[in-house]
Every structure is written in structure tokens, then in C-alpha cells.
């Protein structure tokens, strides 16, 4: 009997790609997509890599596809914006070897900067979008996607969501079957997108999407189930599970292909049910198209465009049940925070002391925006800290930015920050950029990047030297400093922000959660000496607490002995001890 295994949605995507014979995978991490690549790499017989960003990842997959190999790239939904440029045009070229981009959306915004819906980009780029609803389907549908990609000469997007990617469920395992690479023939009419060729390919794209809309009425991934026909649901992805839970007897058209839509199948389903509901998380992508065909249905009038759906939502809004629960009121929230021993805390505290304005970026260090550090003015998207600081200077002048710094992590600097810094160097900026080098991509769970010297396949490789990289741009003021050197940081920041020249400060200390980092010390309070001034508490270390008499105590099980509190104490009331 075939083996069944409990798998995370992301593990199942990896399994499916492996079974489908994928040969090359390139990706940039991003919650909730990261574990796809990490799991695929574990098989050992698929070439897997971390690319510096999603555009690069998509282009690597495109190269492999053009010469006939099955390839994939994986990313979170905002990564698709970065990869949009190659994918929009590759939609015209079409796939030789199957190409699948797995893109994970984040309804409910658990770990993202917005709540965009990947199906909208799929529509705009005329790329088919497939959407599974559990781990088993994650595996099955990605295999279907590779085949469809080759059969219809198109890249395919698999859309996941946080709830699917990070839920576990049973998956029946099958063997890997690697197809022969498809032959490569040079064909500039198809593979070189110049105006004359692109015009013809646009015709082919339209034909392809029409053919898919027609054919998909009988695809196994689109499925109509008729039961009680007084209510019918058209639904997709995880939302399907909520329908099954709350309305097990309703008729359901479950769409596995959400772009293009199987129009005839939908028209037939709509004609057989009395009342039609469209139950789709985020944007009314299905609803608006169905309505445009003159079919009446209820969607966003009843169900929100925001956040995740649930079975209780259906019970309340459709079945009129009252969900009678009483959450405890007014209890302190518990937002995420920088860990004890995190090097970012020390850097932000220095910035906080100097009351600098900060163009921020995306990573664990975005938490520096929150109280008590309050050390960030803006966060937009990866890389934007550096370019925004440049824009601020060009709008307001050199003196204005003497009170500002840009803050960016090592992985984010490699992602797109480097382009922004080139722009600053080229266009004669005078601002100060801080690269917080914690030797890893921490936020997404410790992936390597070009500056760490390790690959996804576990090889040790030469690391990009960020200091030399900055210097090669002609930047004269590039300084490395220990991230925990609090007084040194304050001095250096004062000095560099006042210069009317571009400066880069690279703060260094590894992430406290890295397995390779050892903590020989622990900080211990001396209550006799404590003057109850609270200076040590200001950076907001979660290992510390104030006692009723205003002295402090440090939780030895949480403390990582970084010594920042000790450095801030003027009364020697905190000591470092060996563990």
C-alpha cells in the first residue's frame, strides 16, 4: 500500500515538484513560502538554490525551462511583484520544460506588508493560476501544473495561502518520475521578445487562455458536486474547507483553476442552483467575472475582502447562527519583539538615543519601529530604506538628512538594497546607511544569502564582502563596528551623519537564534547596588522585569548575556557571569 505521511502544505508542494521530476529550483525566502525550497533541497537530487531576490529566481527557472527542463521558483506574494517583469514576458514566450511559480498569499497579514491577491497578477499577466485546498491537493495540483505548463505552452502559477502552506494534513506518497528534457531548438520568433515577435505572441497568448477556459470545464481539478440545490457555492482554496465544514449538504463548485475560469462549467452550475454564493478570500476575482457574464450571485456584499474566512463566518452570515463567545477584555496584547541578545536592539537603542529619523526596511529589525525603541519612520518594501532616504535628501537637502539614517538587513541589502546604494553613490547622496549584518536571513527562519558564504544545498562558498562591495561603488566612508559596542555606535553615528558625504556603517553580530552562536555568559542583577533608575530597561529586553520596589530582575532562562543592560547601568548593579 502507498505510504501516507502528514505533511505541511509547503512540504507537499516540494514533494509534488519532486515527484513531477523538477530539475532546477530557485527561490528567495518569504513567509509563508519558505519551507517549499527548504524541503525540496532535502531530497538531494534536485538542484535548489536561494537567489538574491525573486526576479533572479524567476529568471533562473525561465532559463531552465527554455532548454527543456522542468523548473520552478517559489516566493511570497510580494515577491511576485519583484518577479513580475520576467514573468509577464515569459507568459508570451511560453514554457518548453514545465515552469511553475509557487506564490503564497497571506490573508490576515500574519507576516507581510500588505494583503494583495496573486490571482489579480495572474489575470493581468495572462498566466494560469491553480489553487489547492489542502496538503494532498498541494502535491497533486503541482504535478498537474507541470503537465499543464507543457501541454499549453505557458508558465503556471500555483497560489497558496498562509493557512494552506502552514497546515499539515495527510498526503499519499508516489514515486519520482523524471521526464526526458524536451529538445531545445533556437527559435527567435518565440523566445526573443522584440515588438514584431511580441505582437504575434500576444495573439498566441489570447488563444491559449481561451482554449484553457474551454478545456478546463472537464479538468479534474475543477469539480461540481450537487446535493441540496437550494444553495450553491463557487469556492476555491482553503475557503472550500470552511464551506464543507459549515454547509456540508450544499452544492459546491470547487475551482482548482482560478485563472482562467471555466466559463461553461460555471454557467451550468449557476443554472442548477437556486441561490449562488461566491466564497473567495480577498478580492472578488471570481465574482466580478461571473457577474460580468450576467449571472447573479452574492459575494463581497456579504463576505469581506479582508483577512481569513472561517466556517463561523458562514454559520453567522448565512445560517443565522449566533456565535456566543466572550473574549476576555482589555488584556495586554503580545506583539512580536526582538529576542533577548538580539544585536538589532543595541543598534536601534543607539539610534533612539540620538533621536534620529529612520527610513526602515523589512526583516526582524522592522520590530525596531515599535515601542520602546521607536526607531523607525517608514517601511515600504525590501530595499526601499536606502532609495527613500535618497529621495528625502533630494527633496529637502543635505542638512535635512543629517538627522536621518537608512537601516537595512544583510539579506535585504543583497535582495535589492544594493541597487539603491548604487543609485546613492552615482547620484551624489550624502546620507548614512546602516547595514545590520547578523549573518543570516533571520525573519524567515535563518536562510543563507550571498553574504553568508553557504548555499541552500549546504556547500561552503566564497561570501560576498559587503564592505568591499560598498567600496567598489566609490563610497569612501565604510565602517564596520560590533553591533554591541553601544558607545562606539553613538559616536560613529554622530560623526557619519554630520558628514556631507555618503557613509555606510556595517554593524556586525550574529543573530542570537543561530544554532552556531553560543552564549557563555548570563547577566545577573545585584539588587543591593540597584538605584532603581530604570536605565537598563529602556531598550525593552524581554528577559528583564521591574520588581515592585522598582529594582530589576533578569530571567536567567531567557537572558543571552549580550551585556547591553550592563553597559547602560551606571552603578555596576548588573554583572556578566559565566554560565
Amino acid at each position: 500500500m502507498a505510504e501516507t505521511k502528514i505533511m505541511l502544505g509547503n512540504e507537499a508542494f516540494a514533494r509534488g515538484a519532486w515527484e513531477a521530476g523538477v530539475k532546477v529550483s530557485s527561490a528567495y525566502p518569504g513567509t509563508p513560502s519558505t519551507e517549499i525550497s527548504e524541503n525540496l533541497a532535502k531530497y538531494g537530487d534536485v538542484y535548489c538554490e536561494w537567489a538574491p531576490n525573486e526576479k533572479v529566481a524567476a529568471e533562473v527557472a525561465i532559463g531552465a525551462s527554455i532548454v527543456g527542463a522542468r523548473s520552478m521558483c517559489a516566493m511570497k506574494m510580494v515577491g511576485l511583484n519583484v518577479a513580475a517583469d520576467p514573468l509577464y514576458s515569459f507568459s508570451y514566450i511560453g514554457a518548453n520544460g514545465g515552469l511553475v511559480a509557487v506564490v503564497a498569499d497571506d490573508p490576515g497579514i500574519y507576516s507581510s506588508q500588505n494583503e494583495q491577491d496573486t490571482r489579480m497578477i495572474g489575470r493581468a499577466a495572462q498566466i494560469p493560476v491553480i489553487e489547492p485546498s489542502d496538503s494532498q491537493e498541494a502535491k497533486d495540483f503541482i504535478k498537474f501544473a507541470f503537465q499543464m505548463s507543457e501541454d499549453y505552452d505557458t508558465p503556471v502559477i500555483i497560489r497558496s495561502t498562509t493557512r494552506l502552506s502552514h497546515s499539515q494534513g495527510p498526503v499519499v506518497l508516489e514515486d519520482r518520475a523524471v521526464p526526458e528534457d524536451r529538445p531545445y531548438e533556437k527559435n527567435i520568433q518565440k523566445n526573443v521578445m522584440m515588438p514584431a515577435m511580441a505582437k504575434k505572441r500576444h495573439v498566441a497568448v489570447e488563444e491559449r487562455m481561451n482554449r484553457l477556459s474551454e478545456d478546463s470545464c472537464t479538468f479534474p481539478i475543477n469539480k461540481a458536486t450537487y446535493d441540496d440545490t437550494s444553495i450553491g457555492f463557487i469556492t476555491n482554496g482553503i475557503a472550500y474547507q470552511y464551506v464543507k465544514e459549515a454547509c456540508p449538504h450544499a452544492s459546491v463548485l470547487k475551482l482548482g483553476l482560478v485563472n482562467p475560469l471555466p466559463r461553461k462549467l460555471i454557467e451550468e452550475f449557476a443554472s442548477k442552483v437556486d441561490k449562488l454564493y461566491i466564497f473567495e478570500e480577498l478580492e472578488p476575482v471570481i465574482e466580478e467575472q461571473v457577474k460580468s457574464w450576467g449571472i447573479s450571485c452574492i459575494g463581497k456584499d456579504l463576505f469581506t475582502r479582508q483577512g481569513e474566512y472561517s466556517a463561523n463566518m458562514l454559520r453567522e452570515k448565512l445560517l443565522g447562527e449566533k456565535i456566543d463567545v466572550h473574549p476576555a477584555e482589555d488584556i495586554p496584547p503580545r506583539p512580536p519583539i526582538l529576542c533577548p541578545g538580539c544585536p538589532h536592539r543595541s543598534v536601534f537603542y543607539a539610534i533612539h538615543r540620538l533621536k534620529l529619523h529612520v527610513t526602515g526596511d523589512i526583516g526582524c529589525y522592522t520590530l525596531g519601529a515599535l515601542s520602546p525603541l521607536d526607531a523607525m519612520d517608514t517601511t515600504v518594501c525590501m530595499g526601499s530604506s536606502i532609495s527613500s532616504l535618497h529621495g528625502i535628501e533630494k527633496a529637502k537637502g543635505k542638512d535635512y538628512v543629517k538627522n536621518w539614517v537608512a537601516v537595512i538587513g544583510d539579506s535585504t541589502f543583497m535582495h535589492t538594497g544594493v541597487n539603491s546604494l548604487m543609485n546613492m553613490a552615482y547620484n551624489q547622496a550624502t546620507g548614512t546607511v546602516i547595514i545590520m549584518d547578523n549573518s543570516t536571513t533571520a525573519m524567515t527562519g535563518h536562510q543563507d544569502n550571498p553574504a553568508t558564504g553557504k548555499t541552500l544545498m549546504g556547500e561552503t562558498v566564497p561570501m560576498i564582502d559587503m564592505e568591499k562591495l560598498c567600496r567598489s561603488m566609490g563610497i569612501k566612508n565604510v565602517t564596520k563596528i560590533d553591533a554591541f559596542d553601544q558607545e562606539g555606535l553613538v559616536k560613529l553615528l554622530r560623526q557619519e551623519t554630520q558628514k556631507e558625504e555618503l557613509s555606510v556603517i556595517i554593524t556586525q553580530a550574529p543573530c542570537a537564534l543561530l544554532k552556531t552562536v553560543k552564549f557563555p555568559y548570563v547577566c545577573v542583577e545585584d539588587r543591593e547596588k540597584c538605584k532603581k533608575c530604570g536605565a537598563c530597561l529602556k531598550p525593552g529586553c524581554p528577559a528583564m522585569a521591574q520588581n515592585e520596589d522598582k529594582t530589576i530582575s533578569i530571567d536567567p532562562t531567557m537572558c543571552n548575556g549580550c551585556g547591553l543592560c550592563m553597559e547602560l547601568c551606571h552603578f555596576d548593579a548588573i554583572l556578566k557571569k559565566e554560565r
Binding site: P32, H166, Q168, G169, P170, I323, P332, I337, A545
Partner: protein
């Protein structure tokens, strides 16, 4: 069998994911269908985290919704308070009586609620343990989560031997004995 709903709540970094994996293991071994839903990413940095575990003959959605949990396992008492309304009437609330200050409490902007355990006991069937202290007695503060799981196991119908077997499989070999001992501390305390 009617689907059983379990929730594990705590503070990011407390090891909710390991606990849910042990749970997933025992449920699968018993031949049920199981779905789990976890939180990765940003909230794992010291934020409030929730894991859902559902099992039965056939499970559709992977989350437990408000008012539906049979068992709520809380690794910290403020988190028990935050999520207790997910319990169904008569559900079991298993709490590690530990306090971890959220940042607003560390910086003095907010008060950590007092008498949480007493308040919870007014409305719920509460089973509590000071797992951190018990773990230190075993010489490793990290195994507190398996101790809490042991206490919660009293409210599920899997035999003790099965639990120990699954723990053996799910934790690294050199930590297996310690984790089994930890499980038994919680399990026996709940008798």
C-alpha cells in the same frame, strides 16, 4: 467519531511546534485523520502564537474556531486568558502557570493582569501545573512543554505507552529519555 479540537497557545519560541508534532504523531499512529495549523514567521519572535490540531474520521478545515475547542493547552497564563473563549462548554483548560511579560508590561505601560488562574477557574475546568519548576528539577528548563503535554494527555484517549513511543520517535535520540521523563511528570500529576 466526532472531530476533536485541540489548541495549543503560548509565546513564540516556547516550542508549540514540537508539541503539536508529537500530538500529530500519536493521532496518526492511532489511525485518525489529522490536520494541524501552525504559525510561522514574525509572530514566532516572542509574539502570541496559536496551533490548532483537529482529528477524527474526516476533517475539513485545519483550524479550531471560537467556542469549539475540546482542550486548550496554554503554555503561559496570559495566553490562556486571551484564548479561553475558544473552549466549548465543558472543555478542558490545561495551563502552565507561568508568567512571561509582554513588552508593554516590561516597559511599565501596561499591568500584567492579576489573579488570572482564579478568574479562569470561575468559568472553566482548569488543570494547572508549574511546568517550569518541574522542568528545572529534571535539569533542563526547555522540557517544560512536554510536561504540559503530559498533563493534557490525561484528557485524550491514547494509552501512556503510545505517547512514550511517539516521543521516542519525534525528539533527537539523546534527548528521548529526558523528554519521556518530562512527559510522565505531567501525566502523573494529572491523575
Amino acid at each position: 467519531m466526532v472531530t476533536k479540537n485541540i489548541m495549543i497557545v503560548g509565546v513564540g519560541g516556547q516550542g508549540t511546534l514540537l508539541t503539536s508534532r508529537i500530538l500529530g504523531g500519536i493521532i496518526t499512529d492511532a489511525g485518525y485523520m489529522v490536520k494541524l495549523s501552525e504559525v510561522h514567521g514574525m509572530a514566532q519572535r516572542g509574539g502570541s502564537v496559536v496551533t490548532f490540531v483537529r482529528y477524527g474520521d474526516n476533517v475539513a478545515e485545519p483550524i479550531v474556531e471560537e467556542g469549539q475547542a475540546d482542550i486548550l493547552i496554554a503554555f503561559e497564563r496570559l495566553e490562556a486568558l486571551r484564548y479561553c473563549h475558544f473552549l466549548k462548554e465543558g472543555g478542558a483548560l490545561v495551563v502552565n502557570d507561568q508568567r512571561i511579560n509582554p513588552i508593554s508590561v516590561v516597559t511599565g505601560q501596561r499591568q500584567y493582569p492579576e489573579h488570572i488562574m482564579e478568574d479562569l477557574e470561575k468559568d472553566y475546568r482548569v488543570f494547572q501545573i508549574k511546568a517550569q519548576e518541574e522542568a528545572l528539577k529534571l535539569g533542563n528548563s526547555k522540557v517544560f512543554n512536554v510536561i504540559v503535554l503530559g498533563l493534557a494527555a490525561q484528557h485524550m484517549d491514547f494509552p501512556k505507552e503510545k505517547w512514550l513511543e511517539v516521543i521516542e520517535k519525534k525528539v533527537p535520540a539523546k534527548l528521548a529519555d529526558l523528554n519521556k521523563k518530562a512527559f510522565l511528570v505531567g501525566y502523573e500529576s494529572g491523575k
